[in-house]
Amino acid sequence: MKKNTIVGILLLSLLLITGLSGIVTAITAEEIINYRDKNEYIISARIEAEMIIVNGGRKMTKTLRSLSDDQNALTEFTNPRDRGTKFLKRGEDLWMFFPEAEDVVKISGHMLNQSMMGSDFSYQDMMESDQLTELYQFKILQEEELDGRLCYVLEGIAREGKEVSYYRRVIWVDQERFVGLKEELYARSGRLLKVSMVNKIEQIDQRWIPIESVMENKLRENTRTEFKLLSIEFNPEIAEGVFTLESLQS
């Protein structure tokens, strides 16, 4: 009897352990993305950042500050060479202001595919602000260690009828901190187009935020763009009229 009880307790424990572990692993791909978005998806912020563009042997450093809300963003470059160059995103539209020409240009159509300021980011990359789960059907591919951190490897395939730039994306999400550590972006043909890697993460206002990341355009050799977040302020006060063409030209 006593022996049976022990066996029973052992069996129950085993069931509980396997059951619990089942609950733990039963987290869905969508939940992982949502957890990640809670960390990384910024609705409104004021940031200062540095962009280091490496192309072959050339290296260019650009600094910028940006103000954004849920629909709009105004970015101004502050390094001497590009000082005064500004981008304004309003909903689905993007404008650029060149201080030398004192001219505003709307960036649309095929121009959105071009490189932004010579970096590995396209203008289109700047425009993407929708939450990923609305655009992609995610599934967990595997669990894998990346730079010593255990990650979920997720695959997102574009949902039918949704307009997305990249047909497939594979994302490595830190299992503990739910922050994306690596992302691969693929064309419909299966060709790898871009890879972004996060090199440094910091906890700011109880959110894990990527501080330093690198984007590589895989269609071009020897090119990468490092992005360093120098400061960030969440939910700043935004004066009226900031996201207007007038303020772009001022």
């Binding site: 095929h110 064309a187 419909r188 060709r191």
Partner: protein, 414 residues
Amino acid sequence: MFIAKLGFRNVFRHKKRTLITAIIISLAILIYLVTDSIMIGIAELSYQNIINLETGHLQVMTEQYWEEKDKNPLDQLLVKDGQLAEEIKALANLQGMSPLLRFNANLNNGVEELPVLGLGIEPNTYHQVFTTGDYFVKGSFFKAGEEKAVLGQSLAELMDLKVGDYLTLLVRSRERTFNTIDVEISGLISTPNPNVNNNIVFVPLDLAQQSLNLGDEVSQLVIRFRGDQGEMPTAARQLTEKVAKINPDLRAYPWQASAQSILAMMEASQIENIIILGIIILIAAVGIINTTILSAIERTEEIGMMKALGLKEGEIILAFMIEALGIGVIGSLIGCFLGGVSVAFFNRFGIALSAFGMGEIDIGIPIIDKIYGGWNPGAFLFIALFGVVVAVLASILPARWAAGKDPVKAIYHR
């Protein structure tokens, strides 16, 4: 009769002066004729290059696509179904018809990226409409279904590509999703149209449709007729009536509709011609006025004598006008002769654009290398008459001044 004789004799009294004035007039006429010939040559060559390498004679597409065509959209396309093809094949004098799919792409060589126009073509029918195949520098066109591409030699040099190399076209499908077309270069072309050489990458239509997720849709059907292309606007109207019955959005557009910038340039050249005419008036008038005044001063005593003998002022003016007419005729004839020789030279041997310092740069016209002058007999006739009339009119005022002199003072030269 006496006045006419007197006038003509005066023409040859000072042969050197007459010749110099006539040469001044003839140079002005020469400039006009050469400019006119070169403008005609530019227009003719531009039209040929547009028809042979870009538009064919007629283009069938949806009205909505036409309005947006500069953006190369992937919506508002058309499907070449049986009925539409039959309707076009039934056209009189048809040489060929071919579908085209135009799309924006980034040409990537693994190091650099450049925005280009991707052109999906059907190799079997493309050569029936366009002469692009005549301009291969190396290699040849691909076959349908092959993963190959053709591009201009200048574009290939810019991107450091050669035949046998692979290139990637980064495109966006209608759903705005990135896709890549990886192709081997099967040939390089160097056409007389810089737009084609510098901006276009040709790929098989089926490959482009598949990569852009477009099924059987194409941007347009291009049509070429045998022989003369003069009446295209009428042919376009007639074809529009037919194709609109199949699909109310479809329209046929003549090549002229795609050559608006060149046509506008030709209109601008008319203004240029008017300016040159103005200069000719000025040059001829100055020459004639100068000659007439000199003659009058020289012949003051003679004029006085003629008036004393009973010649009327009008008759003296007429004598000077006839003298100017003679100079005008000589100037016009020399000018037309020199113009004819120059135009014949430009027509036969052409003139390199580099002579104007614009051999390698895009000057907004679909021509590179050489311009050949065109013949315009009407211009010769017009400018010859114009030269004579200006000479005659310019002589009136100084002749009146000479004829108005008092005969007694004139004889004593006071």
